[in-house]
Amino acid sequence: MNSILEYFADIFKGISSLWAGMRITGKYFFSPGEIVTQQYPENRATLKMEDRFKGEVIMPHDENNLHACTGCGICEMNCPNGSIEIITDRVANAEGKMERVIDKHIYHLSMCTFCELCIKTCPSNALAWGQKFEHAVFDRSKLTKVLNQPGSKLRKEAK
């Protein structure tokens, strides 16, 4: 007799616990305000990443195509996995002295681990995070970028 009672009690307990769970799912099913999914490729126009989002390392240039990189190579030294290569050049400045300038700041996005050390340690704040995150390409070599734009020059601070 007891076991039969237990058997039915178990069934009712099962149904009630099922009901408790279904109530929650039902609640969300009928409350459209709680929808959290985003329609990603469609919402590209309105999708805005956070300002600090680590998409890629970029070198900001101003409207005169000037950047702040002196070619010191500190970022290259601090990068844990060799994602940065600095190629410098020597040119004569106005007084005729030879000066080191950046020729190419090569950045391998494919190797970068987004540790932020290059940006943090750059003495002239020449690097920053870019917010682009759609990096899929067909060829790995496309992920190697030259950060200083062609023809760009070092911004001379007014002394």
């Binding site: 616990s17 956070e50 844990p80 540790c115």
Partner: protein, 375 residues
């Protein structure tokens, strides 16, 4: 052992059956292989095979400077990335006798707890899913998204932050930081009871987890099982209590202990820890002192020659870092004692005699993260 197995199977002395669970099994959450010996449906013994994603992090540390090591530790237990980062930072700060600002301590502790909640949420989703409750998976991830958004706003990345560095933080937290955490606390206090209604109270779920995977306190201590898995066996092993770091000595919280010793007890410990973390967050979030976000550090960090040791409580147990320095800017030897490694090897002991379906529940209750085992 393996010769015996071959004899058993080939000669057919008994009816044991060896199957490989993994390396790509959905319920191992990573590349891990269990060699399971079955008699009928009952597990006789189980041998874990590890090393599928061994990246040599300890060896890599020897070639990297201390600030560079931080970002490697992210990749061990990626769900407690912040705690791993903090372990190395604390070690370096301890070795150099640097006093970090109070603000840094508070923020680090807040991040620890946020990370712990996010990790437990993910565990809850995955545990439900392993046992066939797919709804819990979506609901848990939905709430975890709120924490990841806070992370993204302040550090720019959602999972692997590398936000701390020896001496402090990379940069100050976002101005919205406190506001968003407070919003999250109110939000999650409403949602957490739903977890109980959905999964904890479910009879099918309870029948599947109660009374299986019995791990006595002696076993837990013997194998070095720490974290929520150890505390489910009444083994008091919370580093936050034993050796407080950060701002843990300034907050009131309980160490959650359960005496059930089974899968159900470990489940309850983690659910209670989420409540406890919420209360820690509440105590800290309004009291973040003003000040610098980093202490003054030399540009090149060199530890004095010697041996250093530091441990922290991650979401899965005790992470210990041991470094030997010869006075250079990178360590001579770096060793990580990761919690999941010990937690994994208790599997053989606690699954023996259970059905193969229970194996999934037991491994789920240990909350294994495989990259942390392989390093």
């Amino acid at each position: 052992m393996s010769e015996e197995i071959i004899k058993d199977v080939i000669i057919g002395e008994n009816e044991d059956y060896i199957i490989n669970m993994g390396p790509q099994h959905p319920s191992t959450h990573g590349v891990l292989r269990f060699e399971v010996c079955l008699k009928g449906e009952t597990v006789k013994y189980l041998i874990p095979h590890i090393g599928y994603i061994h990246r040599g992090i300890e060896k890599m540390c020897e070639a990297n400077t201390y600030p560079q090591i931080i970002h490697l530790t992210d990749r061990m237990d990626y769900l407690s990335a912040h705690m791993n980062n903090e372990a190395v930072c604390l070690l370096v700060e301890d070795a150099l006798q640097v006093e970090v600002p109070e603000r840094v301590k508070y923020i680090r502790t807040i991040l620890d707890e946020l990370n712990r909640i996010a990790s437990h949420q993910l565990w809850w989703c995955a545990f439900g899913m392993d046992l066939g409750a797919l709804t819990s998976f979506f609901y848990g991830l939905r709430d975890r998204e709120h924490i990841l958004d806070i992370f993204e706003e302040s550090f720019g990345s959602r999972l692997l932050h590398s936000f701390v560095m020896p001496g402090g933080l990379m940069h100050d937290v976002h101005p919205n930081f406190q506001k968003r955490i407070k919003e999250f606390i109110t939000y999650f206090r409403k949602k957490l009871p739903e977890y109980d209604q959905l999964l904890t109270g479910n009879v099918i779920f309870q029948n599947r987890v109660k009374g299986i995977g019995h791990m006595s306190k002696e076993t837990a201590i013997g194998y070095g099982v720490t974290g929520p898995s150890g505390r489910g066996s009444d083994y008091s092993c919370d580093i936050r209590k034993i050796a407080p770091y950060g701002a843990y000595d300034k907050v009131q919280f309980n160490e959650i202990l359960e005496t059930g010793c089974d899968t159900w007890a470990r489940y309850k410990v983690r659910m209670a820890e989420m409540w406890e973390s919420l209360s820690i967050l509440e105590q800290l979030v309004d009291n973040i002192p003003e000040g610098d976000y980093t202490a003054k550090m030399k540009p090149i960090i060199k530890l004095p020659a010697g041996e250093y040791f530091q441990r922290v409580e991650t979401a899965r147990g005790e992470l210990a870092v041991y470094a030997v320095s010869d006075g250079n800017k990178s360590p001579l030897r770096m060793r990580f004692r990761t919690p999941n490694f010990s937690n994994l090897f208790v599997m053989n002991e606690i699954t023996a005699g259970h059905k193969i379906a229970d194996l999934i529940a037991i491994s789920g209750s240990l909350d294994l993260v495989i990259p942390d085992i392989d390093r």
